[in-house]
Amino acid sequence: MRIRSRIALVGGIPITVAAGIAVVSWLLLAEADRARSGAALAGSIYRDVLGTITERNSYIGAVPATRAQNALRFEAFAASASIRLQALRDIAGDPGDRAVASATEVALVRYREQMRELAEATAGNDRLIAEMGARAATLIRLTDQARERQHASNADIVAQLAEGDRRLRFARDVVDHAQELRAAIQAAALHEKTVETTPAGEARAVAERGLGFAVARMRNSAGDLVRLLRDDGRGPAAEALSGMIAAYEAEIARLTAADGAPRDRGPQQRLADWAERTIKINATEYRALHEEVAQLLTYSVSAAETEQATQNIAIDSLKLGRRTAEALATRDVAEVETILGESRPLPAAVSALPISPLIQTAMVDAIGRWRDGLATTGAGLRRQNDMIAAMDAIAVDMIGKASRLNDSLARNADSIGQFVRRMLAFGAAFGLLIGAFTAYLVARSITSPLKRLQERMLRLAEEPGAGPIPEAARRDELGAMARAANFFVHELGRREGDLRRAKDRADATLLELRETQANLIQAEKLGSLGQLVAGVAHEINTPLGLALTMSTSIDGEVQRFAERGREGRITRSDLNRLVERLTEGSKLLLNNLTRAIDLVHSFKQVAADQASGETRRFEMAGWLGEVLTSLGPALRKTPHQVSVACPPDIELETYPGALAQVVTNLIMNAVTHAFPVDRAGFIELKVTQPRAGMARMTLRDDGVGIGAENRARIFDPFFTTRRDKGSTGLGLHIVYNLVTASLGGSIAVESEPGRGTTFIIDLPLSVRPAEAEAAGRAADPVAEGV
């Protein structure tokens, strides 16, 4: 099989598996969707059910006026829950869920029914509670009426008592006067008898006089009584009395007239009877009135007590009413029972109390009805509470079911989702596994020949002569590759042989070149040392020559003086001239020898620096002077001027030998290359300190400059434009190496043809030997040994 087909096979398996998974997942996801919407429904149902419960609770707690709203909201929630439950039943896949949904619906239906009953019961109870208040008000109204009546009655009693008192006094007065009259009548009767039995004469006259006074007394007494009776409006009785008195007086007149007619006892008897009767009647009336007044007083006292008792009942009723209202408001059945118990004796108490019969029955009834109502209300409340409890039980059941439904459906949705995920994961893993396995097999079928091919090719690469790759015989892409590789290896072997040979030649050349370069550098170094030595010798030669000449001259003078001495012809002038000559000579000797010593010293220093390679702290300006001095002999052979400008206070701690070589090389480079033969040039060496810790050395000439084509190469080894003049092309290379490696600085060149060249060297004021060493070691091997 071709690799293309195999790869197609490897790619195809996962795609097929993925497609399969996708199809199944799609189906399952649809299911999961259903489950999820079921769960969402169940969640809504749960909320609805919770809503019904909340509204029911609010309904119970609400004041009667606002209950309707709670009931409405309850119905809205219940209706919504019902609709959703039906929807859920249609959606739910699990028969268990369907059953729970149905059960929840049944519970909801019962809950709604109970709610309706509760609403009725509550409305009834609210009505009863309102009626309780009305009844209490009735009681109060009744007692108020009774009190008003009693107040009116009290006024009447007072009037009646006043009237009774008046009649009482009247009866008493009548009785008193009647008794007086009776006594007067009896007295008159007595006198009458005396007159009757007394014969005419003085005695009779006395008796008659006595009778006259007795009759007068009787008349007076009767007159008082008549007046009393008239004043009381008893005219007829008064008239009758007056008549009787008159008749009796007439009879007595008849007696005193002594007409001899038979005595008529009638008038006297009638008068006496009348008095008796009046006394009897009025005395009994007096007692009767007395009794009446006493009864009225008793009644007024008891009426006050009645009023008090009535008020007490009203107050008790009010208290009970208040307690009841509270108990009813809080649906406290126990308290209602307590109140019922406490109020049980109340009807009997009210019945037993001497309260107005007008309201007593009404009060007993009101209390009875109130108690009945309370009992009914209490029972209603208990039933309501039972109903509430029952509803709570249903609610718990219902909410439990809704919750379970919610959980179940959510779990279902989750589990389907999870299943889908797991299935996707498994399917993917399985697909990948199959794919991987297939891929592995396919890859192996590709890679093992490929690897063999690779090994062969590698071996071939290592050992091109190892022979051709045998897989070239294969018919697939590998075979083609092997054939190509064989061809390539063959070509490669051929070319590599050529190259190796060329390289070997180049290597050999390079080695030679390196050796040459090192030799050259060494030679250059030695050359510059030689130049130095030559310069120094020349310099020393002059003072030494002069000293020699002087010493020779002095020797001659001394010889001449010694001759004269021996001759004895030494004169003052001879001595003076000798002293003058010796002084002058010794002065010259001293100067020239000092100069020689200085030169040696200077040379020694430069040479020591060159040789030691140690770091040293030195003062730049002085040190530059020394270097230039050592260059003096070489420079003096040229027309060019060198000026040095260096601030006095710059100290360096660096390799003075290396720096001296740099300065020497640059100056000599300028002297050698910068100026045409016929022209005197100017070289300026300036030291500045552009920033702390570093010194800048600028070497500028006003020479011909360096062309752009050469400028980049001036630091390359062996680059020179004056090879013809014997330049090695190593001077600036050495400078470059020393500056960058040994001295830790940098060097740059600025130049243009015809406008001079400027080398700018930046040096650290202090270079640590380690750094320098490291720098030195890292430097090009060419710089080694410098």
Binding site: A121, G124, E292, L358, R369, G380
Partner: protein
């Protein structure tokens, strides 16, 4: 289903509540005294009868304001040829009242009628001895001796068989003691071990049901909604017990009661003048008398009795106690009652003659005895005490010293009927418009037994023969003659000093309508209403 049972309860309550403000009319009657019992079978005073009356019905009743008999619980009746069988056809669907302890399960039937009679009649009846079992009226009328059988023919038919014809029998059936009780209630109470509740908390078929009795304070009733003749216009009826007429009047004027019994005749003018009040008056079918207990010395001597009769100044009594609203009496029956013998000559008021008689009787220095007087005002005697005091004054003239004695009204009656009082003020208002109701019940030998209404305990064979004959006779003229003769004997033997026939006064507030005074002294509240 708790709810179902609950709704009607609420509904009922609501209806009850609605009913209260609309029909909460309370009629208060200021009555004159405590009823001796609430069971009419056990009372003989009009006070007791009136207090029990609103709760009960009889087989036949007197039309209010007259002595005409009309059907009540019996819708019809027949009398056998020989006058010994009375068959009553009972009204159907008559309900008994209910109370806390009892709710009737059936309507009134023959068993209730039979029970009501047998209780009084048969001494071995389980209820005969309950509550003391006096049944004085039943006995005074000779019922035990008269009845041969009381039979339940069927549920709606009862037959009374008499041993002999009895002229006033039908009228007796209308009397308070012949009310119909609930046999079912009695049975229930007997089972409950509280048979006396039948008498203490009576249940009848009357227009008002019992609501409470507070001795000395009030008897309370409630309109019985299921009364066969319909509900009463007033909701509550109260007898506010107020013995003193002045206090009664005060209460009436204050509006604490709407009706009052027996105002002091002296106050009649004042009541007439009060624009808020109405004075009702009627010549009473009554007699106020002083009995002389013939079983007690010296009243066993007819001369003493006559002397006492002559010493009492009836005119002064009529003038002072009755305030002119009455006439002096000479016979035991009022002049308005048929067979009144106006030919009888009263013992004259003659102190001297009285003294003579006493001397004859061996009491030249007089004697000392007790005169009992009633503590309450009666229609026939507005003021017993004053009357007693006046008599005391009168008899003092013949040397008779009277100690005045009284007792609580119920006890007073019991003691009088027991024969304890040598002299006693008493009286009677006819219960059925038959002379027998006076002449037999009050003076016949039957009621002369201890406990009987004949408080003089006078038993005169010739007199008794006359009234007994009159009782059994169905011939009106003959009865008139017999009673007229009986009155002659009564006058001659003077067991009583007949004092006065009164004009009975009642006073009502102007807003009371429908109240009719009754010649039989009944206070009938059927149809009484209050207008505002």
């Amino acid at each position: 289903m708790p709810i179902r049972s609950w709704r009607p309860a609420v509904l009922g309550l609501a209806l009850a509540l609605l009913a209260v403000p609309a029909g909460a009319k309370t009629l208060v009657f200021c009555s004159e005294g405590n009823p001796e019992s609430l069971n009419p079978q056990m009372v003989t005073t009009t006070t007791g009868m009136n207090a029990a009356r609103p709760m009960f019905n009889n087989l036949v009743e007197f039309k209010p304001g007259s002595t005409e008999l009309v059907p009540s619980l019996a819708e019809s009746w027949t009398v056998s040829e020989d006058g010994r069988d009375y068959t009553f056809r009972l009204r159907e669907g008559v309900r008994f009242q209910a109370n806390a302890a009892f709710t009737p399960t059936r309507t009134m039937n023959a068993d209730d009628v039979v029970f009501s009679y047998l209780r009084q009649w048969k001494e071995d009846h389980p209820f005969h001895k309950v509550s003391g079992g006096g049944y004085d009226y039943f006995k005074d009328l000779g019922m035990p001796d008269l009845l041969e059988a009381v039979e339940r023919v069927d549920g709606r038919t009862v037959r009374f068989r008499l041993k002999r014809p009895n002229a006033p029998f039908l009228a007796s059936m209308a009397m308070p003691f012949n009310v119909v009780h609930s046999a079912e209630y009695a049975e229930a109470m007997l089972r409950a071990g509280t048979p006396e509740r039948v008498d203490e908390e009576p249940i009848g078929t009357g227009p008002f049901s019992f609501a409470g009795f507070q001795r000395g304070v009030a008897v309370r009733y409630r309109a019985f909604a299921d009364h066969f003749a319909g509900r009463q216009p007033i909701e509550q009826l109260v007898f506010s017990i107020t013995p003193n007429p002045a206090v009664r009047l005060t209460k009436l004027r204050a509006g604490e009661c709407h009706l009052m019994a027996f105002p002091n005749p002296a106050d009649a003018a004042r009541i007439k003048a009060d624009p808020a009040l109405r004075l009702l008056q009627q010549e009473g079918l009554n007699i106020g008398y002083m009995s002389l207990n013939v079983t007690k010395k010296p009243f066993d001597d007819v001369r003493v009795r006559r002397a006492v009769s002559m010493a009492v100044d009836k005119a002064a009594i009529v003038e002072a106690v009755y305030a002119g609203a009455g006439v002096a009496a000479k016979n035991p029956i009022p002049p308005t009652l048929w067979s009144y013998n106006d030919a009888v000559r009263d013992h004259p008021y003659d102190v001297a003659a009285a003294q003579r008689l006493l001397v004859e009787a061996g009491h030249p220095g007089g004697f000392e005895t007790e005169l009992w007087y009633m503590p309450v005002s009666r229609p026939y005697n507005p003021n017993g005490r004053r009357m007693a005091e006046m008599i005391q004054a009168d008899l003092a003239k013949i040397g008779v010293r009277l100690r005045l004695v009284t007792d609580d009204w119920g006890a007073y009656r019991v003691k009088l009927q027991a024969g304890d009082a040598p002299m006693a003020l008493f009286g009677w208002t006819g219960d059925n418009g038959d002379p027998d109701n006076f002449l037999n019940v009050l003076l016949g030998c039957t009621s002369a037994r201890p406990g009987g209404n004949n408080i003089a305990k006078w038993c005169d064979p010739s007199y008794d023969a006359l009234v007994r004959e009159a009782e059994t006779s169905l011939d009106g003229d003959k009865r008139v003659a017999l009673y007229r003769d009986a009155q002659v004997i009564a006058k001659d033997q003077a067991p009583w000093v007949p004092l006065a026939h009164s004009v009975v006064f009642m006073a009502a507030r102007k807003e009371v309508t429908g109240f009719v005074m009754d010649p039989l002294g009944r206070h009938i509240f059927t149809g009484v209403d209050l207008t505002q």
